[in-house]
């Protein structure tokens, strides 16, 4: 779990906010409290990580309103909605829009903390994936167009001769490109090259 992760609580009810913050404190989970959706929106930025525990009913800007705004801003912050009696239709709508979960008041301890943890894991994963993909993209970005074509075919296990015929270049030229790729990606063996290829495919496939 990332140390920077925080639980962001947005609820208009002071009692609920206080209670949540105390409970989270007992498990050493840092949190930040917001009285209204607009307060949170003001404080929000790309760097924020963790999860959002959001009351679905609030005056002026509801939880759903805030969710919509965050999606529009490209936020990937996992949202757990707090719902009350009779809010199921709203909760269903929230899930459809990509909320990770909803919990009904009053909360059962395990339910709540487990779900918060799950949401934090989701956040973690999502952010890690985002980080990996970025690294892969950055790594491969050093290769030229021709070198990338060679890399993919080498990593797929094709012979130099086949690659040369495929690309319409000489076998010798393929070998030069291959050497450049190995050098640029910092690998010495074919096996290492293959692993990079698999990793890229895994990340890109997400």
């Amino acid at each position: 779990m990332d140390d920077k992760q925080k639980v962001y609580v947005v609820d208009d009810d002071e009692g609920v906010r206080d209670g949540l913050s105390l409970l989270l404190a007992t498990i050493g989970q840092p949190c930040e409290l917001f009285e209204s959706a607009s307060d949170f929106l003001e404080a929000y930025n790309d760097e924020i990580c963790g999860c959002l525990v959001l009351d679905i009913r609030m005056p002026r800007m509801t939880g759903l309103d805030l969710q919509e705004k965050l999606i529009a801003m490209g936020s990937k912050l996992p949202i757990i909605f707090i719902t009350g009696h009779g809010d199921i239709p709203m909760a269903v709508e929230a899930m459809r829009r990509g909320a990770v979960d909803f919990i009904r008041k009053p909360f059962r301890e395990h339910g709540l903390l487990e779900r918060i943890n799950e949401a934090l894991d989701v956040d973690d994963t999502v952010r890690k994936q985002a980080t990996d993909r970025k690294a892969v993209e950055e790594r491969l970005a050093v290769l030229t167009e021709r070198e990338l074509e060679v890399f993919e075919r080498v990593a797929d296990g094709h012979m130099n001769k086949v690659i040369a015929a495929d690309l319409g270049i000489s076998e010798r030229t393929v070998e030069v490109h291959r050497g450049q790729v190995m050098k640029k990606l910092g690998v010495r063996t074919l096996a290492q090259l293959v692993r990079i290829k698999i990793e890229c495919e895994l990340i890109m496939a997400d």
């Binding site: 009692g15 105390l22 005056p59 009779g86 008041k105 009053p106």
Partner: protein, 660 residues
């Protein structure tokens, strides 16, 4: 002149037209006959003589007044006829100022009245000695008798005249009509008052039959009375007066009081009647009787219980209804102290209250209160009792008037209506609570959620041995539990069914509570309730739950109107309290919804008329019933800008009202 001749001459003295002339003629003749210089007729009283007639030196003399002491006149008064034939001055030593100074002879004779008393004298003074003193004495005596007779006659006449003048004046100016009737029934006299009463002038009726003054149908009876009187001497009205009918000239019959007396004159009987017109008196009596009858009619009517008391509280009168109510007799209450009559003996408390009320009323106060007392059928009756003072012109309290209405049935009907209203109000409240269930559940869930969170945190702290924060945790747990309980309590009081209880409460507190309940929904709808409390509101005496119900109803209606008009997202609904005037408080709810549509305005307060999908359409009609039952008014108007403003008024609690 021979004596017989002299007497004849004297007797021939023509009686003058008046006594004065007659006396002077007599003195002149006498003086002539006796050759006297002076002659007087005097009245003598207390030793002083005063001339009534005087003859001096052949003509009328002045009035002489003198003391008779030492004069021959004194001898006359004492001894009777006196003659001094000569040397008068020597015998009586008359001074210069004396009446007979310088005279030689004197003849005097006393004048006597009908009782024989000497009241004066006739005296003659001569300047020569008398030739024939006996003759002179006889002549003077004769003249004195004549004078005596004349004077007495004159006195009688004067007395008669005076008495007649008196009676004429009395009769003429009498307020009573006076008439006299002769034995034949002819009117002899008819005074001015009688003229006025009967419309006849005296001349028109004098000499006519008295029957003209008697209505036709009584004429026979009158003749009968008169006949009987003459034949038997029995009189029905002679000497005593009585009321009879009389006839006016214009034919109208009017009541008179007639007092008749019989007068016998020269053996002839006649009647004098003194008549008083009693029309006015009669009319007054009649009107008094009519008033009395009216009073009786009012007094004995069937609806009210009435008693009249003396200012000290003694029962003077009680009407039949008041007796019937408790099955009492007149004698059970009249003459007794009001508070100790069987009317109030069922309750000592009431007896004290009545006593106090009487004291206050005797001081001029009017009191009114409700009392309960057993009726004759032993059911408990409720009376609307009042007592007020009746004052005379000077403002003195002369009676106390107690009135009571039997309002048992009225009260019962009112009670039933109230029960009915309460039942409907209760059903409506339950229905409202049902509609508000989501909001209320949310309202309760909030503190429960907080409690659950603090409890979970607390357990972890205990497990971890971190007790320092437990104090705060427990405090918070309690705080939120109480918060939840408050919501439940508010809801419970709204769900309460039971006797309407009026309490003296602060209107702002009441509305605050209703606002809290409404807020549970307002949060869901995302509407802001703004409550502005009027300052210095007097307390109101109300059934708190019912008034909250009305306020809640208006708030919810307003919110629904705003939702329908899509005015949410923190739009405010405003509820305000304020003092209208000394005696009224206004509570107003202004929303910013769509307002009341024209087509709905008339039916707004009608039961079962609703535009809402849910609800019974009872809210406003019940609100109206509740507010009216509290003596207030409820109404609304559409705002100029947006929405509607509903308001109701409540009368301020009267000072001194108690709760309960």
């Amino acid at each position: 002149m021979k004596p017989s001749q002299q007497v004849r001459e004297l007797a021939a003295t023509v009686p003058g037209a008046t006594t004065d002339e007659l006396l002077h003629n007599l003195l002149a003749n006498l003086a002539g006959l006796l050759g006297a210089r002076r002659a007087y007729v005097t009245e003598v009283a207390d030793g002083t003589a005063r001339s009534i007639a005087s003859w001096e030196d052949n003509r009328r003399g002045p009035v002489r007044e003198y003391r008779i002491n030492g004069t021959p006149c004194a001898t006359v008064m004492q001894d009777g006829v006196q003659v001094v034939d000569c040397e008068l001055a020597d015998r009586y030593l008359l001074g210069e100022s004396s009446i007979g100074f310088g005279c030689e002879s004197f003849v005097g004779s006393p004048i006597v009245d009908h009782n024989g008393d000497r009241i004066g004298q006739l005296c003659v003074f001569g300047t020569n000695p008398l030739d024939d003193s006996e003759m002179a004495a006889a002549l003077v005596s004769l003249a004195a008798v004549r004078v005596s007779a004349e004077l007495e006659h004159r006195q009688h006449e004067a007395a008669l005249e005076r008495s007649e003048a008196y009676s004429r004046a009395i009769v003429a100016t009498a307020a009573e009509g006076v008439l006299t009737v002769d034995a034949n029934g002819r009117i002899e006299s008819f005074n001015r008052a009688a003229e006025k009463m009967f419309g006849y002038l005296a001349d028109e009726v004098i000499g006519k039959d008295v029957h003209v003054l008697i209505p036709e149908r009584y004429r026979n009876a009158h003749s009968g009375y008169v006949d009987r009187f003459f034949t038997t001497g029995e009189a029905s009205i002679i000497g005593s007066g009585r009321e009879v009918s009389a006839r006016h000239k214009d034919g109208t019959v009017f009541p008179i009081h007639l007092a008749a007396s019989e007068v016998s004159l020269n053996g002839e009987r006649c009647f004098a009647g003194i008549i008083r017109d009693v029309s006015a008196q009669k009319a007054a009596e009649e009107s008094l009787k009519a008033t009395e009858r009216r009073f009786r009619a009012v007094f004995d009517q069937r609806l009210q219980l009435v008693a009249i008391l003396s200012p000290t509280g003694i029962v003077l009168e009680a009407n039949q209804r008041s007796l019937d109510f408790s099955g009492l007799e007149h004698g059970d209450v009249v003459g007794r102290e009001f508070w100790s009559t069987p009317w109030w003996t069922h309750s000592q408390d009431l007896q004290h209250r009545m006593k106090d009320a009487i004291e206050a009323a005797a001081q001029g106060a009017t009191l009114r209160f409700e009392v309960t007392k057993p009726r004759v059928d032993e059911e408990l009756g409720i009376l609307d009792f009042s007592i007020r003072p009746i004052m005379d012109k000077s403002g003195q309290v002369v009676f106390l008037l107690c009135e009571s209405h039997d309002i048992t049935e009225h009260k019962r009907a009112e009670e039933e209506a109230r029960h009915h209203r309460e039942r409907i109000a209760h059903v409506s409240r339950l229905s409202t609570l049902g509609e508000m269930a989501a909001g209320i559940a949310h309202e309760i869930n909030q503190p429960l959620t907080a409690i659950s969170l603090f409890a979970q945190a607390g357990k972890r702290l205990v497990d971890a041995g971190q007790f320092e924060k437990m104090d705060e945790v427990c405090f918070k747990l309690n705080e939120h539990a109480l918060r939840a309980a408050e919501v439940v309590e508010r809801m419970q009081s709204m769900a309460r069914q039971g006797e309407s209880r009026k309490e003296v409460v602060d209107c702002n507190d009441l509305i605050e509570s209703a606002v809290r309940l409404a807020e549970s929904e307002a949060r869901i709808y995302d509407i802001q309730i703004e409550f502005s409390k009027g300052p210095d509101l007097p307390p109101v005496s109300v059934d708190g739950v019912q008034i909250q119900q009305v306020a809640l109803n208006l708030l919810r209606n307003g919110m629904e109107a705003m939702i329908a008009a899509n005015q949410r997202k923190g739009c405010p609904i405003r509820i305000t309290t304020r003092l209208c005037d000394e005696e009224k408080i206004e509570v107003a709810v202004a929303d910013c919804g769509g307002g009341v549509p024209e087509s709905r305005i008339d039916k707004l307060f009608t039961p079962f008329s609703t535009t809402k999908k849910s609800g019974m359409g009872m809210g406003l009609s019940i609100s109206q019933a509740i507010i009216r039952a509290h003596g207030g008014r409820i109404d609304f108007h559409n705002n100029d800008s947006c929405g509607a403003r509903f308001w109701f008024t409540l009368p301020a609690a009267k000072k001194g009202s108690h709760s309960g």
